[in-house]
C-alpha cells in the first residue's frame, strides 16, 4: 500500500502530476489517481490515495469490473465497466473517482508508483507487501453521500489531526489569540 506521512507533505501536488503524466501523458487532477487536499487555514496538506482498505467497498460493482491485484491494488476492467459510478459512491475517502465516465483509482503503476518516486519529502512511501490493514468503517458512516472531494477533505482532517495537535503543542501560550484580534 501507499502510506502517508501527513507531517511531511508540503502540498506540492507533484504526486498528482507524476501520476497523470505517467498514465495519460497529461497533467490533470481528474486523471490522477492520487489527489492532494489542502486545508489552507490549518496548513494541512494530505495526498489522498487508495488505502487498500479491509472492507474493499468499491468492489460492490454491479458489473463485477473491479478486482484486487497481487499487491492489493485495485484493477478496473474497462471492458466491463459501464461508467455507472457505483465505485465512486462506495469509496469512503474519495480515492476512486470518475473522470469522463471512467473510474480512476491507484494501480500502483505496476509496482513502481511514480508518485512515491517523485516525492522528495518522503510524505508518501510504498510498502508492497502491506495491504488491508486500514479499516474505513468509521469513515464510511461519516462521508456517505458526499462528493469525492468532500470525502477527501474529511479524510484529510481526520488523518492530520494528530500532526496538527503536535504543532499546536509547540505554542508557548495556548490562550494567545491571532494578530487580527489584537487591535
Amino acid at each position: 500500500m501507499i502510506r502517508l506521512d501527513v507531517s511531511k507533505c508540503s502540498g506540492c501536488r507533484r504526486c498528482e502530476v507524476a501520476c497523470a503524466f505517467f498514465h495519460e501523458e497529461r497533467v490533470s487532477r481528474g486523471m490522477s489517481r492520487i489527489k492532494v487536499v489542502k486545508i489552507e487555514d490549518k496548513g494541512i496538506d494530505v495526498a489522498v490515495v487508495c488505502q487498500q482498505c479491509q472492507e474493499r467497498y468499491c468492489m460492490k460493482c454491479p458489473e463485477s469490473a473491479i478486482a484486487v491485484g497481487e499487491m492489493g491494488q485495485i484493477l478496473v476492467d474497462l471492458e466491463r465497466c459501464t461508467g455507472c459510478g457505483a465505485c465512486e459512491k462506495q469509496c469512503p475517502i474519495g480515492a476512486i473517482e470518475m473522470f469522463d465516465d471512467t473510474p480512476f483509482v491507484c494501480d500502483l503503476c505496476g509496482g513502481d508508483p511514480q508518485c512515491v518516486r517523485e516525492c522528495t519529502l518522503g510524505a508518501i512511501t510504498f510498502e508492497p507487501r502491506v495491504m488491508e490493514i486500514v479499516s474505513l468503517k468509521d469513515m464510511r458512516k461519516k462521508t456517505r453521500g458526499l462528493t469525492p472531494e468532500a470525502k477527501r477533505v474529511h479524510f484529510a482532517l481526520i488523518t492530520s489531526h494528530d500532526t496538527r495537535e503536535r504543532w499546536l503543542d509547540r505554542r508557548a501560550d495556548p490562550c494567545a489569540t491571532g494578530m487580527v484580534d489584537r487591535f
Binding site: V17, G30, K38, G43, T120, L121, D173, M179
Partner: protein, 602 residues
C-alpha cells in the same frame, strides 16, 4: 489540438457584465510566448496611456505561459498586470501557488478584465462556465476568510481562489493579491487594481487535461532539469530555509539592510535568521504546484501561524526596521498576508518614517502620535493597521513612500528609497552592483526580479570572462561587465516569466538557459520556437516595455538610485567604503541595448 497553451482568452467587462471568449492565436503566441510578456503587449495594444490607474478603463490582466501547470518543475507561476496604481507605469506581479495551473486546466491563457462592478463582485470560472457573482458578503473579509468562504459556498475545496483583503478594498496603493492564502502577487499594487474594480476575487476550477505536443521529449527535458535541481549544491539548504537563507548570506556580505540601509550588518542576526526560523517555528515545508524544492515553510508560534515568510518580508520586519524579535515578524507576516498588503512597500513607508524621526525631520505629532522609533512593535502594528484602513495619517502612508515623502517635504524625500515609485527591496546595492543597476533600469521600478543577476555573487571568474567579456562580472563589488550581465539576466528572467517558471529555480539555481527554454517551448507547444525566435521575442518585449513606460511619461533621468547608495559609503563590514557609480553602469547598459543616451530605443 492545442498543446501547452490553454487555448482561450477570456474578456470580462465588469461594468456591462459582458463576458466574451476568444481563441488564442498560435501564430501570435510565437512572437510573445506568454505570461508577463503576453500581458505587457496586451497593455501596449489596448491600454489608453493617460488614464488614471484606478479608473474603470485600466486593464487588469491575468496571464499564463505555455508551460504553466505542466510537468516542468516550478511551472506554477502566473502574472497579474495593469497600469500600476503605485507607480503610474507598467505594473505587474507574479506568484506561484496553485491558481495558475488550475486556470490552465480551465482552458485559459489570459483573462482581460475591464470596467468596474457596481457592487462588490467575484469572478467564477468553471471551465467554460464564467459568471460574475455577488461578493457583498465577502467585502471586508480578509484573504484567508475569503478563500475559505468561497470554497465553502461553492461546496468544493479544490477551487483555487485569487483574492484581495481589506487593503485592496481600501485602495492601499501597494495592496497585494494572493492565492492559496499566502502566495502573493506582492508588488506594484495589483490588489489596489482589484479593489478599484470592486473585484474581490477570482475563483477557478478547471478539468481539461493539459497536453504537450511531444510528451516523450518534454518528459526527458523535465527529468534532466529535475536531476540538475536535486544535484545543485544549494538544494538541501533551499529546501530547509527557502529564501530566508539570504538573511545570513547577505549579512555575511555586509549588505543586509539594517535600520533602513544605514548599516549592512545586523548584530542580532542569530535571533532573526532563516536558520532560527527553521529551528524554532517551522513545522513543515510548503510548496507551489509541482515543485521538488518545497522552499516555503509553515510556521506556528504562540501568536500566529501561516506560510512563509520569504526573505523580503523577514528582513523588512526585522533588521530593516530595527526589530530583533522574530515572533513579532511572523505575526506581521500573517497580518500582511491576511490583509493583502506588500511587505516591502509597507515596510519602506515605516522605514522612511523611522529614519526621518531619528534625524528630526519628522516628529511623532506628524504621525498622529505614533512613535515610530526603531523596532517599536506597538507603533509598527498600529501604523500598519492605520494604513490598511486608511485611518488618520495612515491614509497618506497608503499612497506609498514617494507620495508620502513629497507630502511632507522638508528634506524627507532623500530618505524615501524607491525607484520610479516602487520601493527598494532588501539588498543593499552598494555591495551588489548588478542588482543596483537592475533596480535602476527595471521596467516596473526598484526591484531585482526583472533580472536577478545572481551571477555576480558566484565568483565564477572564468565563466564571467566567457559570457560577459570580463572576469569582473563575477565580482559583486565591480561595476565592469555588469551592463552585459544585467542585459543577459534580464532576458533570462523575462523568459522565466513568459514560460512560466519559478525564478528561484530557473535563475538563482542556474537551471534555465535560452537553449533549454526553446527546447521546452517546442516540445511543449509544437510551435516553431527556435532559439532565434525566442531571443527576438524577449528583446522585443524589453524594447516595447521601455517604449510603453516612455509613453507613461518616464525618461532616462529616472534610471537611477536613491542618493544614499550613490553618495554614502557603508561604514563597516565586507562592503565598507563602497558606493554605486550608477550613472556609468546605466550608460553602459543603454550602450549594450543600443539605445540613445536618454534610454530611448527609438
Amino acid at each position: 489540438m492545442r498543446y501547452g497553451y490553454g487555448g482561450s482568452i477570456l474578456r470580462v467587462d465588469l461594468t456591462s457584465g459582458r463576458i466574451h471568449r476568444e481563441k488564442t492565436d498560435p501564430e501570435y503566441m510565437v512572437t510573445v510566448i506568454g505570461g508577463r510578456g503576453f500581458n505587457s503587449r496586451r497593455l501596449s495594444a489596448e491600454l489608453e496611456r493617460s488614464i488614471d490607474p484606478l479608473s474603470p478603463e485600466n486593464l487588469l490582466l491575468v496571464g499564463l505561459g505555455p508551460l504553466t501547470g505542466t510537468l516542468l518543475t516550478g511551472s506554477a507561476f502566473f502574472t497579474i498586470s495593469g497600469k500600476s496604481p503605485l507607480t503610474g507605469i507598467l505594473g505587474d506581479s507574479a506568484a506561484g501557488g496553485h491558481f495558475g495551473p488550475e486556470l490552465k486546466q480551465a482552458g485559459y491563457d489570459q483573462i482581460i478584465i475591464t470596467g468596474r462592478s457596481k457592487g462588490p463582485g467575484y469572478l467564477l470560472i468553471a471551465d467554460d462556465r464564467v459568471e460574475i457573482r455577488d461578493a457583498s458578503n465577502l467585502w471586508g473579509k480578509d484573504i484567508w476568510e475569503t478563500t475559505s468562504a468561497i470554497r465553502s459556498d461553492l461546496g468544493d475545496n479544490a477551487v483555487q481562489v485569487l483574492a484581495i483583503g481589506p487593503a485592496g478594498e481600501n485602495l492601499v496603493k501597494f495592496a497585494t493579491v494572493a492565492c492559496n492564502n499566502s502566495r502573493m502577487c506582492g508588488r506594484t499594487g495589483m490588489g489596489c487594481l482589484f479593489g478599484s474594480k470592486h473585484l474581490k476575487a477570482i475563483a477557478v476550477r478547471g478539468t481539461s487535461p493539459v497536453k504537450v505536443a511531444d510528451p516523450a521529449t518534454y518528459g526527458k527535458l523535465c527529468k534532466a532539469i529535475d536531476q540538475k535541481i536535486v544535484a545543485h549544491p544549494e538544494f538541501e539548504k533551499r529546501k530547509a530555509l527557502g529564501t530566508t537563507m539570504l538573511m545570513t548570506a547577505l549579512n555575511s556580505l555586509g549588505i543586509l539592510p539594517t535600520d533602513h540601509f544605514q548599516k549592512g550588518l545586523c548584530h542580532y542576526l542569530d535571533r532573526v535568521s532563516g536558520e532560527r526560523l527553521a529551528r524554532d517555528f517551522k513545522v513543515k515545508n510548503k510548496s507551489c504546484f509541482n515543485c521538488n524544492v518545497h522552499c516555503s515553510r509553515y510556521y506556528v508560534t504562540s501568536e500566529a501561524e501561516g506560510e512563509g515568510p520569504e526573505y523580503e518580508t523577514l528582513c523588512t520586519y526585522t533588521s530593516r526596521l530595527g526589530n530583533d524579535d522574530l515572533e513579532f515578524a511572523l505575526r506581521i507576516n500573517t497580518f500582511l498576508n491576511r490583509m493583502g498588503m506588500d511587505s516591502v512597500s509597507s515596510g519602506e513607508t515605516l522605514g522612511w518614517a523611522m529614519e526621518c524621526l531619528q534625524r528630526g525631520l519628522l516628529t511623532t505629532e506628524d504621525l498622529d502620535g505614533v512613535d515610530l522609533r526603531w523596532g517599536n512593535q506597538k507603533a509598527i502594528e498600529k501604523m500598519l493597521h492605520m494604513i490598511v484602513y486608511r485611518q488618520g495619517i495612515g491614509d497618506a502612508f497608503a499612497e506609498g513612500t514617494r507620495s508620502l515623502a513629497a507630502r511632507f517635504g522638508r528634506g524627507t524625500e532623500a530618505y524615501a528609497f524607491h525607484v520610479k515609485g516602487l520601493d527598494l527591496i532588501c539588498g543593499d546595492p552598494r555591495g551588489i552592483k548588478a542588482y543596483g543597476l537592475t533596480y535602476a533600469i527595471a521596467s516596473r521600478g526598484g526591484d531585482h526580479l526583472r533580472a536577478e543577476p545572481f551571477f555576480e555573487l558566484t565568483e565564477r571568474y572564468d565563466e564571467a570572462e566567457k559570457r560577459f567579456g570580463t572576469k569582473e562580472a563575477a565580482n559583486r563589488l565591480a561595476e565592469d561587465g555588469k551592463a552585459a550581465l544585467v542585459d543577459y539576466s534580464e532576458r533570462l528572467a523575462l523568459a522565466t516569466d513568459c514560460l512560466t517558471m519559478c525564478k528561484n529555480i530557473g535563475l538563482c539555481m542556474d537551471i534555465l538557459d535560452f537553449e533549454t527554454s526553446s527546447r521546452l517551448l517546442r516540445a511543449g507547444t509544437g510551435l516553431a520556437f527556435t532559439p532565434e525566435r525566442v531571443d527576438e521575442a524577449l528583446e522585443n518585449h524589453i524594447r516595447a516595455d521601455r517604449l510603453l513606460n516612455i509613453e507613461f511619461g518616464l525618461d532616462g533621468s529616472q534610471d537611477s538610485l536613491p542618493r544614499r547608495f550613490v553618495d554614502e559609503p557603508l561604514e563597516e563590514g565586507p562592503t565598507k567604503d563602497c558606493v554605486v557609480n550608477i550613472k556609468k553602469m546605466v550608460k553602459e547598459y543603454y550602450h549594450v541595448k543600443g539605445w540613445d543616451e536618454t534610454g530611448n530605443p527609438r
